[in-house]
Structures are given as C-alpha cells and as structure tokens.
C-alpha cells in the first residue's frame, strides 16, 4: 500500500520527534505537527505542516503519533483514540499502571490500534537475539544481562523529575525490561536499586533491576544516565542450556575514526546504520499495520506490561524489597468482563 493519501498527526516536537518526523515523511505520509512549543522549528527542519491545536489536528488526520513527554502520553493517546484514530505512542505507553491499563481497554473497546514505540525491538542485534531464542538455538534460558548507558537527558527538565518521567527505569531501562520479557518471557518478581548523584546542573542517575521470569530465568538490567560526554552504548549477554549470545555496541563498531576534528561525543540515542534505521523500520511496521498489514512485533499489552514492570521496580526502590507480580490479567478477558457488567 502507499501512504501518500494518509495523514498522520505528530503530537510533540521534542527530541524523538526529530527522529519520527523525517521517517514519516519518507514513508510518504502527510504529517501535521501539533506541539505546545517547537512545532514551527521542527517543521522548518524536516517538513510537514504545523497545526495550532490538538482538536484541529484530530480533525485532519487519520493516525496519531504521540511523541510528547511521558506524563502526557495517556491524555493525548486517550483523546486520539476517542476521536477514532489509530495511535502510535512513544514509550512508555503511560506513566502509571492504571493509565496504561485504561488505554489497553479503551483501544480494545473502540476497536482502534494502539502501538507502543519500543524501538529496541527493531534494532537488528536484538532481533537476532529474539530470533535465536525463539528458534531454540540457546535452549532453556538461564541468565540474561542487559546494559544501556548514555548521557543524562538535561535538554528539558521533566526527565529529571521521577514523578513525571519515572526516572531512568521508566524512561531508559524500560527498553531492556521490555526486551528481557520479549526474549525470556513473563516476569514474576522485580527488585531494583537506584542512585542519583552529581549536581542539579549536571546530574547522573543509575539503576540495577533484577527480574525473575516465570520460566525461572533471571535477568539483570543496568542503566546509566551519565555525564554529558558519555557515548550511548548498549550490551547484552544471554546464556541458555544450549548456548550463549552476547553483544556490545562498542565492540561491534564498523567505522572507527581518529580524526583531528573529532566528532561530537555524548549520546541520548544510539548510533544506527542509516541503511537499516530501526526508527524507520518501526514506523513503517506500525503504519503498514494501520493500512491493513500484519500486526507489529510489539502490542499494546506489551507496552502496558513494560510499564507495569517498570513501576514494580520503582515500588521496589520505595519499599527496599523485591516486588512479587500477580500474573497479568489478560487484557481482552478483562475488557470482556467489563462489557458483561
């Protein structure tokens, strides 16, 4: 199918919109951008059309891409769903479990599609891992390690406010929490330790999250929001009864330069190969699904479950103890029950 006739509304003009907007345009969509701030600059950089209100945007477009700060995902996605739109939501799907669960039910009830943008599922090294595990190459998984490091996002203040962003666990580590669940299955226990240091102007934050999967496999997810010069790096190491796989973004670089004019260091987003851009692959898969294509590799239930695991980790920080998770209530069954009542 072609997207040339499709109109997509991009809500928000922050960091990730600079990634999403050019990809949506490349996909052939007409993109309308609404944001409280920065929409004109964003459109001037990449293209598209600025609209002045969310209502105006919803009146024009067929689909909505929510790329606003975490704490507003729920309200924007809800309005878009209620306006009859299929929706892409930047991760996390919502800030709280209740909001995420409500969005799952709302999408189900209204028969709309809602896709959480867990882009790491589109990074080829994680796709390889998932395929290998699914194919049985590694056998029964025993122990998994995931790590993600980059600069503390100081560009806008809301990241530093745990109430708004959920801190490093909800914002950054939710990627690997989702991958751990994607690869090793449902999680039954979560514990976490976290630390904030540095200064108000130059903060750093770290956390370690331990997951126990229903299968008995155990995962460690590590996150660093470090000093501004820290490059973005990722690692994983996964061992099962039949084999192991590990990956380090530093070790697998295919372009090494030591130039007099050094490129800017420090990273909020990983380096990607432009010929196989995961952000593009993600938006292509979502928009193709909107047009009747196959269901994407990540569902709204996956998004809500990632939020639930991240919030369990945040609860563990508060209580100082591991959090046992009651098994996930199947979203559609719960929706069914609500309709019956």
């Amino acid at each position: 199918m072609t997207l040339s006739s499709l109109k997509i509304g991009l809500v928000g003009a922050g960091g990730i919109s600079n990634s999403h907007l050019p990809h949506l345009l490349t996909l052939g969509a007409d993109v309308y951008v609404f944001s409280d701030a920065g929409a004109a600059d964003l459109v001037a950089r990449h293209g598209g059309t600025v609209v002045d209100t969310l209502d105006e945007l919803l009146a024009i477009v067929d689909y909505v891409d929510v790329a606003t700060p975490t704490f507003t995902h729920y309200a924007v996605a809800k309005r878009a769903l209620e306006a009859g739109k299929d929706v892409i939501s930047e991760k996390p799907l919502a800030r709280t479990d209740e909001e995420a669960a409500e969005l799952v039910q709302l999408a189900e009830r209204l028969g709309r599609r809602l896709y959480p943008a867990h882009v790491v599922r589109f990074f080829p090294e994680y796709v390889r891992l998932h395929e290998a595990v699914q194919s049985g190459l590694l056998g029964d998984l025993a122990v998994l390690r995931f790590s993600r490091s980059g600069a503390f996002p100081t560009r806008t203040p809301w990241f530093a406010d745990r109430a708004l962003s959920g801190g490093i666990i909800m914002d950054q580590m939710i990627h690997d929490i989702d991958i751990a669940r994607w690869v090793a299955g449902e999680v039954v226990r979560v514990s976490a330790v976290s630390n904030r240091a540095g200064t108000a102007a130059a903060p750093v934050e770290a956390a370690h999250v331990l997951l126990t999967h229903a299968s008995g496999a155990i995962s460690h997810v590590a996150g660093i929001w470090g000093p501004a010069h820290l490059p973005f790096t990722t690692e994983y190491s996964v061992t099962g009864t039949l084999g192991s796989l590990e990956h380090s973004s530093v070790a697998e670089r295919n372009y090494t330069a030591h130039l007099l004019e050094a490129a800017e260091q420090g990273g909020l987003l990983p380096d990607v190969d432009p010929a196989e851009n995961p952000y593009f692959a993600e938006l292509r898969e979502f928009t193709e699904a909107f047009g009747g294509g196959p269901e994407p590799r990540v569902s709204v239930v996956d998004g809500a479950e990632a939020v639930r695991l991240a919030n369990a980790a945040l609860l563990s920080l508060e209580t100082g103890q591991p959090v046992e998770l009651v098994s996930r209530v199947d979203a559609s069954a719960e929706a069914e029950e609500k309709r019956a009542l």
């Binding site: 122990v143 226990r189 330790v193 770290a206 370690h208 995962s219 660093i224 061992t239």
Partner: protein, 342 residues
C-alpha cells in the same frame, strides 16, 4: 622467624583447591623459599592429589599436617575445601605461621570470625587470596579513582563468569564448598569494590537458578546480585557459571565503573589472540598477560618477611563473605537482606 641467612619456609596445606598447583609452581621458582606440602586423606582416584601430585610437581611432601607444621613453617598457604578453611587456619595460627587463605574466607560467619580471632590471638598475618586486585588494570583504575578522574562513582557492574568447576568434585558439593556460583564468584568482584572504594555494603538482593549444568550441579549455577553501599554506590554482580564446558577459555572477570566524570570498563582477563581451528571451525582463543597469582603471592611473601599485615586481610574476607551469605539468604527468602556491621 626467618632471617636473610635461610630461605623462607612455606607450607601448603591441602591440594583440594586447584590453585594449590599454581602456588607450588610459583614457590618452586623462588630461590629464597623452601616448600613443603601435605594433602592427607583418601582422594578420589579421578583426581590427582596427595603424594602423586607432589611427585608430579617435584615438591617435598609429608603425609600429615602434624608433620607439616612440625617443620615450623614461616608461612602456610591454605588451599583446602572452603568448609575446612577454619580448621586449617586455626592449626596454622597455633603453629605461629603467617597465613594466606584461599577465597572465600569461610562458608559461615562463625567460621570466618573464629579465623580472625585465632590469627589475631596468635599475632600472625591472615591474607585472603583475591588475586584480581593485583592486576595492573585494577591498579590503573584505582589510580584514576583516587585521583578523582571518575568524579563521584555512583554505579558499578561486575561479572565473574566461568565454567562449572570440574577438576575437583568438592567445588559443587555445598557441604564442602558452601554453595554454588554465589560462593565461588561473588567475592572476587566484592573484593575489587572493597579495594576501590573502602565502602561498607548495606543491603543485598540476589536471584539464582540451577538451569545450567543442571545434571551435575548440587547448588545454584547462575546468580545475579545487587548491592547498596554506604557511600551511595549501587553495584550488580553476575557470578554465574555460564561459560559452556566446551568454551575455549575458562571465563573472565569484568568491571564497569560509572562516575560523574566518566566511566571505566575493565576486562581483567580480556587480552587474547583470536583464531580458528581449521579442522573443526572452533574458535581459538589464546589469552595472555601477567599472572595475578604471582603478584598476590609476592605480596604475601614480602609481608611474611616484614611482619606487616598486607591487604586483602581477614576483615576483607569477612566482609565479602557477609555479602555472599546475605545473597544466599536473599535467594532463599526472596527478600532484600540488610548487612549488619560488626
């Protein structure tokens, strides 16, 4: 005690630990040391121990610890099963010998405390064999840390992964080893953090399973541990025996340290020559680099000469043991466990 006029007398108690062979080989190369060994008991015919191993190594041997200690050694290296460390350290201390004890210090807190008390009462050195802190890469990290190059350290990741120990049956018998991978591998990283930060661990959370080597293991083979320290640092350790038996090398130790001014990643056993076996397609890995055990042993022997207690001492052994015991309790209870100082 020794004088320059005669060689240092060093006794090796037990060949239970595979490191005994390495220590004996290093000691035999040292012209200022004379060595006597003993490894009494009935050993499995599958394992080269006792007089057979001593003959193979070309080292002097006696049949009993009584004879070994009657030789009046200046120093004793205890390389017995973990659960026997206390008994042998107490014997050596009573004989007035300085002691290098294989890690972990002990398998119970009571044993560890008794060992510290015995060596203090006898006025002898107790050093615990944590070799990785003697790596030049660790000294580099320590220098950067002490110079403030890392800024305020806020998070650490460590991994110590290896194969299921197979050269000696007792390693996987919890009655003798004290447990599985948690006992074997957490202490190395914990010791590095001791040496780096001198901070006290406050609480420990751990998860474990027995999926790898399930047919042979009698305790956990995979373990992940998170630790909060009193300086605010959070650390996580992967201690799993997650290296396949078919792997070209034993495994390794890695440490990633994050501070407000940057990060340092160390792969202590990383440098190696890579290649391929043409017939099988199996990777060839030929590790190289200095022997950390030699630096450890050199530090111990020097301390025996001066009588000055070296690091890591028994107190370090005890604090790292407390982390292991807390991790085991956390696995058993599913709870985060507080560590009581004292």
């Amino acid at each position: 005690m020794n004088t320059a006029s005669r060689p240092l007398k060093v006794a090796v108690m037990s060949f239970a630990h595979t490191h005994a062979r390495g220590y004996v080989e290093l000691l035999l190369q040292n012209r200022s040391v004379s060595v006597l060994t003993s490894d009494p008991g009935i050993h499995s015919p599958a394992e080269t121990r006792g007089r057979t191993l001593a003959d193979e190594l070309g080292v002097d041997y006696v049949d009993t610890y009584h004879e070994l200690l009657a030789w009046q050694p200046d120093a004793v290296i205890v390389t017995s099963e973990n659960a026997h460390h206390r008994e042998h350290v107490e014997l050596a201390a009573r004989a007035g010998a300085h002691i290098l004890c294989e890690k972990p210090l002990a398998t119970t807190l009571a044993d560890g405390e008794a060992m510290l008390a015995a060596t203090q009462a006898a006025g002898v050195i107790l050093m615990v064999a944590f070799p990785v802190r003697f790596a030049s890469t660790f000294l580099h990290l320590k220098a950067d840390y002490d110079a403030g190059a890392l800024g305020d350290v806020f998070s650490v990741r460590g991994s110590n992964n290896g194969k299921l120990p197979s050269a000696r049956e007792w390693f996987t018998d919890p009655a003798l080893s004290g447990g599985g991978a948690l006992v074997d591998h957490v202490v190395h990283i914990a010791d590095l953090l001791e040496a780096l930060m001198h901070a006290a661990p406050l609480s420990v959370t751990a998860v474990a399973n027995q999926k790898l080597y399930a047919d042979r293991a009698k305790a956990e083979t995979a373990g992940l541990v998170s630790i909060s320290y009193d300086n605010g640092v959070i650390a996580a350790i992967d201690c799993s025996w997650s290296r396949a038996e078919t792997a070209p090398t034993w495994g390794g130790v890695r440490l990633s340290v994050a501070g407000t001014r940057g990060t340092v990643d160390v792969d202590f056993f990383g440098p190696r020559v890579h290649g391929l076996d043409s017939a099988s397609g199996v990777p060839l890995e030929l590790p190289y680099g200095p022997d950390f055990d030699a630096a450890l042993l050199g530090t111990f022997l020097e301390a025996v000469g001066t009588g000055v207690q070296p690091q890591p001492d028994g107190a370090v052994g005890l604090r790292t043991l407390k982390i292991v015991l807390a991790a085991q309790e956390s696995v058993a209870t599913g709870r985060t466990v507080q560590i009581v100082e004292g």
